[in-house]
Assembly symmetry: none
Homo-oligomer: 430 residues x 2
Amino acid sequence: MSVLNVQLLLTGNELMSGDVIDSNSAMTAQYLKNVGIEVQRKVTVADDMKALVDEIQLMSQQTDILIINGGLGPTVDDMTAQALALAANKPIERHPQAMQHLQTWCKQRNHPLSEPNKKQADLPQGCEIIANSIGSAVGFKLVLNNCEIYCTPGVPPELKLMLNDEIIPRLAKKIPQHLKTTVKRMQVFGIGESTLQQLINDNYPDWPTDVELGFRAAMPLIEVKLTSRSAAATQQANNWKNKLKQLLGDHIIGDDSAKLNKTVIDLLQHKKQSITLAESCTGGLIASQLTQVAGASQVFEAGFVTYSNKMKQQLLAVNEKTLTEHGAVSKQTVLAMAQGALKISQADYVIAVSGIAGPDGGSQEKPVGMVWIAWGDSRSINTCCLYLPGNRFFFQQYVAAASLDLIRRMLINSLNRPYYLKERQFSIKS
Amino acid sequence: MSVLNVQLLLTGNELMSGDVIDSNSAMTAQYLKNVGIEVQRKVTVADDMKALVDEIQLMSQQTDILIINGGLGPTVDDMTAQALALAANKPIERHPQAMQHLQTWCKQRNHPLSEPNKKQADLPQGCEIIANSIGSAVGFKLVLNNCEIYCTPGVPPELKLMLNDEIIPRLAKKIPQHLKTTVKRMQVFGIGESTLQQLINDNYPDWPTDVELGFRAAMPLIEVKLTSRSAAATQQANNWKNKLKQLLGDHIIGDDSAKLNKTVIDLLQHKKQSITLAESCTGGLIASQLTQVAGASQVFEAGFVTYSNKMKQQLLAVNEKTLTEHGAVSKQTVLAMAQGALKISQADYVIAVSGIAGPDGGSQEKPVGMVWIAWGDSRSINTCCLYLPGNRFFFQQYVAAASLDLIRRMLINSLNRPYYLKERQFSIKS
């Protein structure tokens, strides 16, 4: 049981109707857990004034901290400020700081400050503003029945920033040092969740009970978490994390929320080398993932999305004969795509992929879910053939992840063979 | 307000900690909505006996129907049956029908009937069994304080079957035909949420109260929803949806959950025409969005991700002079990129983008968030310059959406000018 009682109130017709799956409360709980605070209870109600007012009054009597999420927008169904004012029996006032934020926000966007927008500055008297650095809706805090109530926006990136910058640091200060929960996380790829669990069971039957081990499938990565709830356990957790690092080796992408795209960009920047891509079945997804990372331009000059055979020939100089004899989804074609992309772009490294994303286009010999991946540099290019049945989305995501992982392993001269090269290897079915 | 008050109680430590995102409650709400029942309130608590008992007692006094989800498994943290028995002040008894189900279930699987399994037959006295055709945990129903309480399993496919086969048909019978809720949705882009609200306020001050209008920012699209709760209101809602369609015209992407990428692919397929892309700042995101759609290969042969100036010259034949004189982020450069991509790919339509995604690389004249977009065909290519400050993720997503929207408007010969061309237009700041 946490030292601080924290409850969440989520509002929105779309949450009640099931049109939207609530991920904001999970994100909030995870942020809170990182500083040792557990959420006690969550309540979700529609955009209904009476329901909101009743719930705010009730919850404020039961908890130390209430975080309200949603209902800060400019439209009529956004009613959090009004509901909080009614619950606290305060008038609504146009808040000068919120107005200033709105004016700046609109000016930066050449956007007229409309009446519905101004509504976002109409807040309960006496509330404190919580800055929103990317959205129009400011957050705000009010104390009612000795409960600190934080009102936050429903747009996930805005909520995330507000939690990170303002709310979590404030709440963390309320937790005594010796009661803090510590969570150590790392990201793993190239090993299945059950294999991972078995490996740990086999190697560490003496895993300590006060270092809680958890896994989370953060498709396609797996997050490994070590949770400790005392200073002594935290010290132990450090040792056990190091043991895990030895056990898992290069299957570890990195600590905390490390990602494959950022890791590959960092490795290339460090080596001052560059990469190019020749994508068929992923259709630009790998390029898009790499260029999501700020600074990608230092290591990435060009990518080729060659969906048709004609464009594989024209842009990447793949021989017509190679395509006719072996087909677009073949070892010979991905090799030629990789060689072509390397030559044209003059990059140091290359990834080329060609496969059958589906749902159509499969055959018995080359079924939906089959993919050839080529990766390497000007001296040597490797290839593999994987079988990733499922749906188009899963297929594209996994091909992109495996491709980036294979280049990552090459960049760190890894000798660890990723499990998918065995477990997901394609073998022709009879 | 629905004729029947239905509330959900969700239980599970993994839901409170945020390790698992709850999708069961959304599924339940959607099934209920299909028969005209709205969920009034959802409460989530951890696997904690006192919290569960308190919540069941309280909720049973407030609602007609309570659906409890989770906590039916064989382990110690599964405590729904026990909590319900305590709340209702009934003893726990081994239920013969539940035991029989367990015996059959185990026998079919060559699975010994273990003591933890038998716990799943220990249920509150007087409860009615609800069959589970695929899992070991039966559901059960008990009436407390005139509230019908349904206990359901947390495993999504088991919950789904139980809702479909048993619970929804029972509840549907309680709703008179003329009171069923109907929701009509459409997706809109090219108009801000506050502008949208203002436009509707100005044009339809007489909007009927029984056709509830809702908006949801499904970044970058906006979803517009019309909810009606009676046969008469549903008929009205049809008329008002048609009025909205006239008012919003080509800002409407489509009905239900229409998407920009699918809409563009469909339009091109219908015309039997093709598209190519020359992407700088979006780094393959537009290509990736188009190729997420099954069947994209019929209208998309190739895309160019030209991040560096060298590659803009080499792959798209942009003049070195154009780049030196005007820079990579300029009208002249995107025009040349578009012309080059069209010529090389022989596609019918083209999108080219070049901008400053940030966080670095901006200047006073060309700040982070500025982007040039070119779109068109071999006869005419249009350009615009937008200013989309925020973060890199938002910038790339919005540029991709605006680009696809501009081509969509061209494909339908739209005369409606999207609002972002005005409100988000870039103007050099002094």
